[in-house]
């Protein structure tokens, strides 16, 4: 096949995507970096000056900052644990011989397609509402006092909602991986007298390793940016109890009109995401190259 010509053509065909993404990545990031060193408030836009490291110091010394970092990590970690463990169990369950497997799969995967504001509002109002929610009704039926979820356990409530949204995703991917496991291997192990736990540990789990890594990678990307679920339920409160880093930056930027401060927060968010990404890419790279 022609070489130089096709290669030039290939470059030409790739150019729009690469250029768009390059601009999309560099321009806003450069602006964020620039603003993070400026005193710039939208309420007083005429008065912009160099701020040095003030914005970073301001963000760093804000007690809400550390809380929001902790909340971010708890949110991501909590949802990952619930969805991966729950996903493995669910996938094992759905892999059993059951009647109506197709419909069961559809029911289980459905929450993934529900847009975040709907998911959050349905849980907030219909399920977790302390007065009229389903959980409150059940609690009263058993004579217990209904839990005021968003006042007493704001972060946990959001973890539950987000986990509900992502559990189907983990389940579907793990189930797909599980179904590609060689049936004969399973049978051979069974014949050799390997119990369920042994089979799971030495056969199933290693087979699922790649899928689990992928689930963790993809979910982390999305979970670091959880926003709408917080906006429509707790609005970050009470206090900063359910504010993650994304929400704190939004608050600083669009409610505090503090461009400089929010940009410093943005730079910190990028660094955090990159630290996570490096770890993940390394782990995933190892697993994917196999």
């Amino acid at each position: 096949m022609a070489t130089r010509q096709t290669r030039t053509l290939a470059r030409f065909m790739m150019a729009p995507s690469v250029l768009l993404l390059l601009v999309w990545m560099i321009v806003p990031l450069a602006m964020t970096l620039w603003f993070s060193f400026q005193n710039y408030n939208l309420l007083n836009p005429a008065n912009v000056s160099f701020a040095g490291l003030f914005n970073y110091k301001y963000f760093y010394t804000d007690p809400a900052f550390f809380q929001s970092i902790a909340n971010t990590l708890i949110l991501v970690g909590g949802v990952l644990v619930i969805t991966v463990v729950g996903g493995i169990l669910l996938a094992l369950l759905l892999d059993q011989p059951i009647f109506g497997q197709g419909i069961v799969r559809i029911l289980v995967i459905s929450p993934f397609f529900v847009m975040p504001p709907v998911a959050a509002l349905v849980w907030k109002n219909m399920i977790m509402h302390p007065g009229y929610g389903v959980l409150a009704d059940i609690a009263r039926f058993f004579g217990a006092t209904p839990v005021d979820w968003f006042a007493q356990h704001p972060l946990l409530s959001i973890v539950i909602i987000v986990a509900w949204q992502w559990l189907p995703f983990a389940t579907l991917i793990l189930l797909t991986a599980l179904q590609s496991l060689d049936g004969e291997q399973k049978e051979a192990a069974e014949m050799d007298g390997a119990g369920f736990l042994d089979r799971f540990r030495y056969l199933t789990l290693p087979h699922l390793a790649r899928a689990i890594t992928v689930v963790i990678l993809i979910q982390t990307i999305f979970l670091l940016g959880v926003y709408a679920e917080i906006l429509v339920t707790t609005n970050g409160g009470p206090g900063y109890a359910s504010t993650n880093l994304a929400f704190l930056i939004y608050r600083t930027a669009l409610l505090g009109y503090d461009v400089g401060g929010a940009s410093a927060g943005g730079v910190i968010a990028v660094i955090l995401a990159n630290v996570v990404a490096i770890f993940l890419m390394r782990a995933v790279g190892r697993n994917l190259d196999r």
Binding site: R7, L9, A10, R11, M13, M14, S17, V18, L20, M25, P28, M31, L90, L93, L94, P97, I98, F99, G100, L107, I109, S110, P111, F112, F113, V114, M115, P116, P117, V118, A119, L121, V122, M126, Y132, D137, I138, W164, L167, I173, T176, A177, S180, R210, A211, V214, I218, I221, Y227, L231, V232, T233, L245, I249, A253, A262, G266, V270, V276, M281
Partner: protein
Amino acid sequence: MARRVSTQSRIAWTIAAWAVALLIFFPILYTVLTSFKTEAEAIAGISLIPSGTFENYVEVQSQRDYFKPFMNSVVISVGSTLLALLVAIPAAWSMAFSPTRRTKDILMWMLSTKMMPAVAVLVPIYLIFRDGGLLDTRIGLTVMLTLINLPIVVWMLYTYFREIPGEILEAARMDGASLVSEILYVLTPMAVPGIASTMLLNIILAWNESFWTIRLTTTNAAPLTAFIASFSSPQGLFWAKLSAASTLAIAPILIMGWFSQRQLVRGLTFGAVK
């Protein structure tokens, strides 16, 4: 597989699986049921039998003009998907059929742009949109979602195109097929399924995107995500109406999703799990 399964254990597994599945599906089911209740019924305790009123659906349209955000959602998600495909198809095509040493790196780099937290660029994007008159416009949001989903679209298409065997092209050329007929009769039929599933998944992702769609719109271009989020303001309890609006907002995407389970696994894992 030659595994014999006793009917008893099969029934036991079936009951367990259905119980868990219904539990997971319950919030959606309950939303749909509530949408057919009156507002008084909606807060009167658990009841799985609604009175069957369509009033909520009528009112969501007549009071809140449901059709407008719905159309915004359609235009923005379909528009951004088509735009992304337009840019991504040539790129994925060339990466799949004439890969270079750097192709893998470029793909990884594209994926890494997804790692950039949206909120980190909220301020500059907001200012650019404000100064460019793009706030609360469909065109602004469409471009935004195109950029966000472009890496996924390129990746997905790449994994599909890579599976088209190159030999088949050579064979067609040997048989004397012209370039045009090669593209029309050999490549297109093989590429269409991959493009279609990419499109489907991307429409789902764009439809549900809930950061930029909420922050960059107010009324004119607000899609369903922003519309539903506006129900969170605590002005009384309108759960039945909220349920009706929610049901309408998720129904089309839910049905599309049911049909695209396989493609979803493939697309969202970048071909790593099939």
